[in-house]
Symmetry: C2
DNA sequence: CAGTTTTGTAAGTGATTACTCACTTTTATT
DNA sequence: AATAAAAGTGAGTAATCACTTACAAAACTG
């Protein structure tokens, strides 16, 4: 990965998040990244290839976060860490995750993005075991609800990221676990 | 609203939901609707105007659903009806609501779609009062959570609409209210 | 029915855009 | 240093697409 290659990637990421994939011309990416347009195609074959490279990056980052959660031994800690995840992600790399979420609704990436990764599946398994250990009657269902809350919370973060809102909501969510 | 005008609208809706707004050419809409391309512009000014007309339709339908919930007197019924909402919407008009959800992530419609309508605000108020009447300590927070669950549930419905999944999940969600 | 407005069409058109290609410069290899 | 491979450029180009325009048919109005 050369310097310019990475420049192209982060510029494309930013522009895709700001303007959307289809409405961002490769010419603009090149201009903002300060490279020639041809270089994009040399490195990433075509515009889709550029997006694929970005999506691949996200797989890695999600895996890293999953590993972190798995290393917690206490199930309550795992649940709370899961709830904190969207807050962390959005604080660190807002554009990146906004793009990820918008991708879920694009036909083309619908399957690709939401085929759960091995890391993701391991977290689900761990959370299920955790809920069971905590005495919940239907651990699988509890995990589903937790995942819904995660989705919904991410939505709200994406749309109105006021800090005090985030804090109180997160605290309240955590207070629900354990019941 | 002439016959062809409506034909254009429902065709555009279907194609936008299937392929996305930016990747659906007006020429295709015209072809599939069996009208000339020029007619689209005669009636809706431009491509954005076509989308605006679709979004306006959604406002109306959401309001109708909100009214229905407000007419329920029992707070538990209101909460349960709210939880059932996404299931109903997706069963009746899947494409339409898929498009609505994907729009939330398009910069252009980010504000427009998610500025809560008066009807929406009234439902929120009613639910808040309901939670209070049921003895919940923090009714506003409870409503937030309910809205997150709604978002998350809609996501799951959009991505994997297996009927048995829907039923069991909905039942479990309902069983959480009242606590 | 005459006149006017509305609905509809078909054939453009200019601008945009993803991608190519011939070429140069830099970096790696022996 | 010589050679090869990779990185990088910039000027095309063919295709697509949103939109226009000149015109015709239909529907409405008095």
């Amino acid at each position: 990965m050369t310097e310019k290659q990475e420049l192209i990637l982060v510029t494309a990421l930013r522009l895709f998040a700001e303007k959307g994939f289809d409405t961002t011309p490769t010419s603009l990416i090149a201009k903002e990244a300060g490279v020639s347009e041809g270089l994009i195609f040399r490195h990433f074959t075509n515009k889709d290839g550029l997006m694929d490279a970005i999506v691949a990056m996200s797989e890695e980052r999600l895996s890293a976060n999953a590993e972190r959660i798995l290393q917690l031994s206490n199930p309550v800690d795992q649940i709370h860490a899961t709830l904190e995840l969207p807050v962390q992600l959005f604080q660190e790399e807002r554009e990146f995750w906004m793009l990820q979420f918008s991708l879920k609704w694009q036909k083309k990436y619908k399957n690709q993005t939401y085929t759960p990764s091995p890391a993701h599946l391991k977290v689900i398994q761990a959370l299920t075991d955790g809920f069971r250990a905590l005495g919940y009657a239907q651990p699988e269902q509890e995990v589903k609800i937790l995942m819904m809350l995660l989705d919904g919370f991410s939505h709200q973060l994406a749309l109105s990221p006021s800090p005090e809102y985030i804090e109180t909501t997160l605290a309240f969510l955590k207070s629900k676990y354990p019941n």
